[in-house]
Amino acid sequence: MKAGWEHFSHGADIGVRGFGETAEKAFEHAALALTAVVADVSRIEQKESVEVQCQAPDLELLFVSWLNAVVYEMAVRRMLFSGFRVVISGGSLSGTLSGEPADPERHRAAVEVKGATVTSLQVARDAAGWWMAQCVVDV
């Protein structure tokens, strides 16, 4: 396994999956996968930063809450993000999203994400110690 992200198929929607040497890194990469559902990540410049906080009773729900925080900030700020930093402490997550206002001409966003779901939700570490975080997002 290596650090990065990928999509996986779900009938009507799409799954996002991040990998990393820590849960934080896996969460960050999954947020890139989420953004890639919407637009081409490589076209999004990191001009402004937004801080988010999430709480949840377990790591998997914290992952869903994190992705939903990203979805929410994209929606209300009309921004796209390509840089993500996550710090997890107990049941709390502090995140920094870096991006820019969405530009219909340049970003050509294809679809908006309605929300991250608990379908195919998994946050796990493999035998080699690598973390994976995934769930299906509703588009």
Binding site: S9, G11, A12, V37, L61, R78, P104, V111, E112, K114
Partner: protein
Amino acid sequence: MDPESLERHGEFEWWIPAAGEMRVPGIIYADRKLIEEMDEKVREQVVHVAALPGIQRASYAMPDAHWGYGFPIGGVAAFDPAEGGVISAGGVGFDISCGVRTLHTKLDASALEASKEELADALFYSVPAGVGSTGAIRLGADEMEEMLRGGAQWAVTRGFGIRADLERIEEGGRAADARPECVSAEAKKRQAHEMGTLGSGNHYLEIQRVAEIFDRELAADFGLRQDALVVSIHCGSRGMGHQVGTDYLKRMVVEGYRPIPDRELACAPIQSELGRQYLGAMRAATNCALANREIITHLVREAFGRVLPAAELTLLYDVSHNTCKIERHPVDGEARELFVHRKGATRSFGPGHPDLPPSLQRAGQPVLIGGTMGTESYILAGTGESEGLAFSSACHGAGRSMSRTQATRHWRGRQVVEELREQGVLVRTRSYRGVAEEAPGAYKDVSAVAAAAEHAHLARRVARLVPVICVKG
């Protein structure tokens, strides 16, 4: 799904007998081919729903059923609060009260020929569509609350729409007992710029031609005739519904009732505080969807007024297909008040149903089935039999046969738009990738779904519509 693994009760009815934790059987309505193409996950989800407390008669799946969130998309289940029945955020879905409405134009398709491009541009300019699009209407806190309580009725009062529209919308255009105070500040903020917007994904605004009439009498009752031009709008409750779904799914997972290991089926007893709060918030989001479709209709009327002033846009019907409604249905010979979840399924009241307006008493409720931009859509009519078959429900669309990722590997958006133009369909879009993801070939055969709904007696086919202009969300 392997048909041999199901118990066949007729050509279009397939049972999963109650076993293990199931309180009722599972029943899927489809033909053999649709069953063979159906995801195995549908069976799993039908079985899980059948195990929920207070479920009545059966856990149903419609002919277009596919893998959803806890409930299958195309799932119908009714719960009795008196028997500990539950309500599920996943059973309603993230796009609360997403639905379709179809309008007459009083014009024939031939009237459009000279101004087809102009109308396509006018609609694309008038109706905000696609990711991040914003509407011109901004609501302050008080008016947001009025909109969440009033739905399409609020929109008409504000001058977006006409009063005659209301009797052609389920529940008269307003979900009663909405509780805006149960909607989070985040949901209200997310909706602030999105009134009167179409959204993205599979949402669309189409100008369509009536290509085929199946039942002349029903078509006459619905005001449909061969080659008539109609308008169909498919969209939902926008950021409001998405955030209400997100907020309450998490609360139901954390605080609600989790009968099985599957967290996505998290729910709450209808009579619990959480259940009541979700109901109030869901109804508010329903009103947002109804107001949104009414505002979009107003924008469409304005565009027609500029390009084709001879057109007169009247509403045939507006159906929502992600809902939970209180309805009276007979169970064991006794009429009971049940909470009917329809996730990707349409209500289909038959002729004579007391909740239908006088003008639809003879024909029954119009059931609007959305297709894809390159294929076709259907108008059906609810049947009396569908009450006993599936709490008066029918299918809602084609359902995907291919994932978005697969679709973008198969098609290029620009090429899809060009091919559709050659077929006589003008597409307007802000995203070619979005077009590729929604390519007609990525969907199942909507004709097979509509035929199966008729053969199973859930609804009767009235007319087939083909697109002429598609503004893609």
